[in-house]
Amino acid sequence: MAGDAGSVLKVSVWRSSGPGGVAAGDGRFETFEVPRQPSQTVLDVVTHIQRHCDPTLGYRFACRVGVCGSCAMVVNGEARWTCRTHVDKVAEGGRLEVAPLRNLPVIRDLATDMSAFFDKWARARGQFSGTRSRQEPFAVVEPQSEERRQVDLGIECIGCGVCYSSCDVVEWKPDYLGPAAMNRAWTLVNDVRDTARRERLAAVAGDAGCHACHTHMSCTERCPKHLPLTSAIAGLKRETTRALLRGEL
């Protein structure tokens, strides 16, 4: 198979045409040849290119083990964590195509500017608001309660941007909050200690929020942590509707 030592991988890598702040579509694919290694990941391949073929290649990574969420790229058309994607799994006929995440401006080559992505977490009222101070005892959240279980479903998000890159609604409506920000809002809506429920539901309602979701489920399909993102957005649709009918929106 492709994993044979001694064989060579042909890798098309997206190169932006100028340094800094270029539009996502401004650039071209450049092909590199990379020796195959056993258990090689896509991040290994990109690192090899930068170290041995072209030191000017720009990309981002940190932990290399699927914890930090900084190395996501579009590999053969699908957004993935490159550190947790084995070449064996995605290479086709000894070829790979590596591009930056969609729906975000490219800083350089494979590195995107994720500011807009995280700004939307803030706009979705993604901050916790509580009432207790550090002098008071811990709040007790019943682990078996329905709310806590809903929180458990979404809490493992590490903000890699794979869902955001895979979402067509983000592409169609640039102010759309996107799956990750709304998943965050949904975990807080279910946090029994939180006091900002009303403002949060108002923040995620409407055409830039949950009501623009078409249930394409590309986010859920692609999430490396298999979080039920579409379900979280549907939860927000139900809760905002309830608030609307009560006159609280």
Binding site: W172, K173, A205, G206, D207, L244
Partner: protein
């Protein structure tokens, strides 16, 4: 348009969808039954002329369509053409009014006893 109003549109489209789900099942069944021996004006009008329950059914059907369709089309237009704001809302409202009038005229046409 405020996020609250947009949420209201979403809900109106879902609720009209529930009404349409029932109406379309009845409509499909009637249609499949009606075409067995070929369509003729006499046969259609025989069923609908002066028949108040059918008229009320079709009138309700039209109202639900006039709510459901413009909201859906509004989304498609906003997503593919990028229209926003006043222009989009005006088109949506005009489409709703047009469908309502045009559809109720059709329902009346097959109901009105003896023709107009």
């Amino acid at each position: 348009m405020s996020p609250r109003a947009q949420a209201g549109l979403w809900f109106a489209q879902r609720m009209s969808a529930v009404v349409l789900a029932f109406a379309v099942v009845v409509h499909l069944a009637t249609m499949i039954y009606a075409v067995r021996s070929g369509l003729s004006a006499a046969e259609i009008l025989d069923r609908t002329r002066g028949n108040l329950p059918w008229f009320l059914f079709y009138a309700g059907f039209v109202v639900a369509i006039a709510v459901h369709l413009p909201i859906g089309l509004r989304n498609v237009i906003a997503e593919t053409l990028g229209w926003r704001g006043r222009l989009l809302e005006a088109c949506t409202a005009a489409l709703a009014a047009g469908l309502l009038a045009w559809g109720l005229r059709a329902a009346w046409a097959v109901y009105a006893p003896g023709g107009a």
